[in-house]
Amino acid sequence: MNRLAITTSQTPNATIMELAGSADIGEAGLLDRRLQDTFSQGHYRVIIDLSRLDFTSSLGLGSLIRAHNRCRQQNGRLILVNPQPKVMRVFLTTRLNDLFRIVDRLDDALQACQETKTPPAKPSD
């Protein structure tokens, strides 16, 4: 399994984080730290592209849930894009597909973020 790699880019309407590799016990904390970096810049509209994520355990799910909760508290949103079938099965098994907005295409996520009205970004924490 590959180590977790996270690439972050910024659009006018959202922060896009692309995850590749494995969100496993050896990488615990990395995703939390990257998300915290995003939040500390005041960005609460976050798209996480899972199309190259091979594996996640409940540790990775926990990071995503904390991020979801944080975005919601700040009137933002978090959208997940195109998980691989094995990863999607983890979402279905835990019923987290009921919590997260999961879309097939990045364009759909960007459109949803454009429709989300949020207050001007303010750094926090």
Binding site: S57, S63, V90
Partner: protein, 140 residues
């Protein structure tokens, strides 16, 4: 170590996620060498990781001086993994259903249900500080 005719490997680590990852990789490598398919490997990896994570976080409360004990056996027809910690144990029946709507936003509490979903057998000892995972080779 020989138990019930199967040869078991025994590993003991301090409560550290990176050490846990090494043990997980060791078990996965043994399963891959034995020819288990990708779906079994994913299920095994997920379940072993949940067991190790629970032992470190909940059992040993991140106390690096406390050990996590692992013994495993990979044979052509089944994989057995035992993970125990040095904590007080717990009642697995007392864990709230993480799929209930009121619990979906809780960032933790999904380990046991994932193990049960992906393994053929998940059993805890009476003390609640050891879990036994079984994955059968249903292709054999």
């Amino acid at each position: 170590m020989i138990m019930n005719g199967a040869s078991f490997q025994t590993v003991q680590i301090n409560s550290d996620f990176h050490l846990a990852k090494e043990v997980e990789d060791q078990i996965i490598s043994a399963a891959q060498t034995s020819g288990y398919d990708e779906d079994v490997i994913f299920a095994l990896r997920l379940s072993v990781e949940e067991a190790l994570s629970n032992a470190i976080r909940h059992g040993n409360a991140y106390d690096v001086k406390k050990k996590v004990h692992v013994r495993y056996s990979v044979s052509p027809d089944r994989i057995d993994v035992y993970v125990s910690d040095e904590g007080r144990g717990f009642d697995p029946g007392g864990v709230p259903d993480p799929t209930a709507p009121e619990n979906l936003e809780n960032p933790s509490g999904r380990g046991i249900m994932l193990m049960r979903a992906y393994m053929n057998q998940v059993e805890f000892n009476d003390a609640g500080n050891e879990v036994h995972l079984v994955k059968l080779n249903q292709a054999s």
